[in-house]
Subunit: 291 residues, 4 copies
Amino acid sequence: MTLHGGEGMKKVGILPNLEKDKDFAVTNRLLQYLKLKECQPCLSMKAAKLAGLEEYGCLEEELYRDSDFLISLGGDGTLLGVGRKSAPYGTPILGINLGTLGFLTAEEKNHAEYAIDKVLAGDYKMEKRMMLQATIATDMERIEGILALNDICITRGLLYKILEFNIYVNEEYVDTLRADGVIICTPTGSTAYNLSAGGPVLKADAQIIAITPISAHTLTSRSIVVSADDVVTVEINPREEADFTVSADGQDAWTLTGKKVVQVKRAKEYASIIKTNPQSFYDVLRQKLSR
Amino acid sequence: MTLHGGEGMKKVGILPNLEKDKDFAVTNRLLQYLKLKECQPCLSMKAAKLAGLEEYGCLEEELYRDSDFLISLGGDGTLLGVGRKSAPYGTPILGINLGTLGFLTAEEKNHAEYAIDKVLAGDYKMEKRMMLQATIATDMERIEGILALNDICITRGLLYKILEFNIYVNEEYVDTLRADGVIICTPTGSTAYNLSAGGPVLKADAQIIAITPISAHTLTSRSIVVSADDVVTVEINPREEADFTVSADGQDAWTLTGKKVVQVKRAKEYASIIKTNPQSFYDVLRQKLSR
Amino acid sequence: MTLHGGEGMKKVGILPNLEKDKDFAVTNRLLQYLKLKECQPCLSMKAAKLAGLEEYGCLEEELYRDSDFLISLGGDGTLLGVGRKSAPYGTPILGINLGTLGFLTAEEKNHAEYAIDKVLAGDYKMEKRMMLQATIATDMERIEGILALNDICITRGLLYKILEFNIYVNEEYVDTLRADGVIICTPTGSTAYNLSAGGPVLKADAQIIAITPISAHTLTSRSIVVSADDVVTVEINPREEADFTVSADGQDAWTLTGKKVVQVKRAKEYASIIKTNPQSFYDVLRQKLSR
Amino acid sequence: MTLHGGEGMKKVGILPNLEKDKDFAVTNRLLQYLKLKECQPCLSMKAAKLAGLEEYGCLEEELYRDSDFLISLGGDGTLLGVGRKSAPYGTPILGINLGTLGFLTAEEKNHAEYAIDKVLAGDYKMEKRMMLQATIATDMERIEGILALNDICITRGLLYKILEFNIYVNEEYVDTLRADGVIICTPTGSTAYNLSAGGPVLKADAQIIAITPISAHTLTSRSIVVSADDVVTVEINPREEADFTVSADGQDAWTLTGKKVVQVKRAKEYASIIKTNPQSFYDVLRQKLSR
C-alpha cells in the first residue's frame, strides 16, 4: 500500500482540533518529529497563525490536496471534518486521538510518533470508507455537493413541531413518517447517531446505507438497510410547513423551511483512513458499547 | 359526580383552537346550543374579538376559574393548554375533537351537542389526571411553577451538540446520560413523546412517572418508572456548556444555557377531564398505535 | 427494625445453592460462625445429608417458618427460590453472593460474617418487595397459588409456532398479541428478563407491575405499566392451539396446551430482603447495565 | 425472462399446504385450469393420494427438479418450504396465497388463474432471493447443507436457562452474548422473526445478512448487518452446557446440547420467486407493520 505522493520528501498536513490541543503542544511535538524524519509539515494558515508557526502555514486547498498524508489531531469528530475536506483529493488520514477512544482514530497521542514511523515505513492498512452525497432542492433553489462520512440527518426545528416526511428508495415510495427526524448513514456513521436512535451496526466495509427514523410517532417504523447503489429521497413537509435542519456529520448544517426534497446517495469520493494498530472494529465497538 | 359550580345557570367557557376552528363555525354553533340550554357561554377576550362575539368575552382568569366546565375545541394539544391553565382552579374540561382521534378529547365535533347534554345531565365520568410541576434553578436564578399535564422535556439545542446530564431520584444518583434529551412524563403523557422515544405506556390512573432518555449515546439507558411521590432531579451540563430547552407539554418552552438543575415532581394540581363516551384508554391506544 | 423472632437464641436457616457451594465450604464456615455467635443454624434435610451435617437438618417447613432469618447462599436466582418459599411466613432473607454482583444479595461471600454481625446487631434495612400470585385456569382445571418474586412468564413451546394471546387489565380488553411470549413482572423482576425483552426499569419500591411482550410480531406492542392493584389476565390460544409454558421466576414451570387463562395479581405475601450495605439500587443497575 | 424449461408442454408442480387447502378445492381448481391451458400438472405422491388424484403424483425429486415452475399454495410459510426444496434446481415458484397477505406470495387465490396466465405469457418478474447455508459442527459430528430462505435461528431450550455464545464474522471475534438466542437472516427473512426481535428491515435485493440477538441480557447488543460474502460463526455454550435448537426458517429444527459451532454463510443456491403483481415490497411492508 502506498501513500498519496510519490518518492522524495513527504509533505504532511497537521489538522489540530483547536479546542483539544489548546496550546498546540501536540501539534508542535509532531511538527518537530516530522522535521526530524525529514518530512515537510504544514498547517492551515489559521492554525499556523494561532500557534505562532506562520512559516508552516499553507493554503487550505494545498494542504488537503498536496499532502502525502494528513494527521487529524483530535477525536472522531475532528477526523470527520478532515475526511469531508480531503475526500475530493483522496488524501489519506492518520487520526491521532486526543481524547477518548474512537472508531476512526488510529492511535492515542502518546503513540503518535510510533504511528508516524509506521506510516513512513509503509507498515499500515488503508481503509476506504464510503461517503454520502446530498442535494437539497425545491423548484426554486438547489444546494448541491453536500458530503458526509458519517450521516446526513434531517431533524426538526427547536419548537416541538413534529416533522412529516415521505421516504422513497429509487423513487419507490417507502413510507410517510412523523418523527423528530431521520438519519441516513454510512457504515462508518452506523455507530454514531444512528446507534443512539436505535439503528443497527453496519460492518465497516459493507457497501450499504441505513435509514433510521428519530423518535417516530408511528411506532411501526424501523431502520431500513439498502444497498450503497440505492438513492434515498426524503420529501419534507409534504402537507404542512415546519422548520428543519439538514446536517452532514452533525457539523455542516442548513436550516430551512417549506416543502423540500433531500436526495442522498453514495458519493463518488471515499475517505482513506490509515490504520496502524491491530485493534478490530469489533474491539472498539465492544468497548464503546459498554461505555 | 358533580360539576365545578353549584345550582343555577351554568357558566361554560369555550376555548377554541384558533387554527382549527378558523371561522369559529363550531364555536358559534356550540355557543348557540349552550344558550338554548340556558347556559352562559363565554370566550377569552381575544377569541371573542376575533369571532366578532365581544359580548361573550371575559377575562382569562374568570374564564378558567369561574366556569362550571370548559369546552376545549381542538385536539389533545389544545386540551393540554387548557389543562395547564385551568388546573389551579380544578375546573373540569370537556374535550371536543376537531381533528383526529385523541386520548383526552371526549367526542368528535359532530357529537358535541350530545356530549354537552350528557354533561348537563350529570351523565359522565371525571378522570383526575396527575400533573407535573417543574423548577429550573441555578444559584442565581429560579423559574418556578412550570406545570405540565403530559411531560417536562429537556432537549438539546439545534446544533448537533449532545447534552450531558446527571439524573437523581430523591437525591439518589441514578446515572449520567449523554443524549438528545430526557422526557419526564405522567401517565397521560406516556402515550405522547415518551412513546416515540421508546418509553412504556403507563396506565392512565396509575400514580407513577416515567423518565425516558431521547436517543441516548450510552446504549444501556432505559426508561425508569418511579412513584408519583418521587422527585426527579436533572443536573444539566455538569461538565461542559451546551444550549438546551426545557418544555412543558411541548408548548411552553425555556431556552437556556450553562449548568442548570431542573427538578420535577408531582404537582398538587390535577387536570379534571370529562369523559362522556365509553371508549376505553386501550381502545384509543390500539387505534393510535396501528396509526 | 426487628427480626422475625423475639429474644433468645436466634435460629438461622442456611440455604446453599448446591451447585455453587459445591463442597459446602461456605456453608460450613457460616455454620461455625453462627454457632460461635450463639445462634442455632439449620439446613434442609437434603443439604444436611449431602454436607454430612445431619445434626443440623430440619424439615423444610420449619426451616422457612421458624428461622429468625434465612441466609441465601448463591446468587439472585437462589434468593428468588428462597423468597418464594419463605414468603408465606415473612421470614427475612440475607443474600450472600457466591458469584457475580446481584440486585438482591446483600454481600459477597468474603463479607458474610460481617453481614451476619450487622444483622445480629440490628444494623440493617429491610426491604419489603412485592410479589405476584398467578392462577392458571380453564373450565376444567385450575392451578392456584403460583408465587413469583420476579415475574410470571408465558412463553411459546420449542417449535417455531407463535403464541397468540389476549391481554386484559381489570377485565378491560387491552390488546391481542402474537409473540414469543409475555412477561408480567414486579419492580424486583424489572431488571431481569423484562429488561432483556425491552421493558422499563421499575423503581424497586414502587407499587407497580409491568407487562412486556417478548418478540411481538405486531411491532406496535410496548410495555404497559399498571398499578400493583390491577389484575392482569392473559387469555392464551384464543383461536388456535399451541404449546406454552408458564414459569415463575424462570424456575417453577408448567407446560400446557389448549386455551387457557392466566390471571396475575399482586400477592398478599412480600419478600423481606435484608440489606446490610449502602450500595443503592442504581449503583447495581449501572454496574449491571455496563456488563 | 424465461421459465425453467424450454418449449413444449409446461410441467407445473402444485404444492398445497395440506392444512389450508383442506379438501384440495383450490388444488383441484388449478389442476383443471392448468390442463385447460395444456400444461402438465403434478403433485407429490402424498398430496396426490390424499386428494384422490393418484394419476398426477410424481416423485418429489422430479417434482422440484423437472417442473417448469412450481405453484406454492398456502402462505409465506408454505413457500419457504418449497423454496428450500427447489433451490438446488433453481425452479421458479409462484406463490398463491390462501390466507393473509404475504411478502413472498404473488397473488391471492381468487387471482390464481390470472397469475398462471401471466406466467405462461411470460408477463412476470423473477426475483432471485439469496439464501443461507448452515453447518453445525463439533470435533465429533457434523450436520451439513442446512438451507434457509428466511433465517437460521439458534434458540435456547425450554427451561429458563440462558444461552451463551460467541459471535465471529470471518473469524474476527465480535462479541459474547447471553440471550434467548440469535437470528441470522437474509433480506427475505428480515421482515420475519428478525423484525419481531428488533432487527432492521433489509431491502429485498441487497446482498447482506443481519445478525440479531433475541432478548439479550447484555443491553448493549444490537443488530449487526454484514455483507452476504461474510461468514458468520456462532460458538454455542463456550463455558457451560445448555440445550439449544438450530432452526431453518422456523421449520427444520435440530435440538442439541453441548459446545457446538454453527457456521452460516450465503448459500450458492437462490430462490426464484415469480412476481406477477405490481405491489412493491414497501407496499406490503406498510400493510404488515400496521397489522
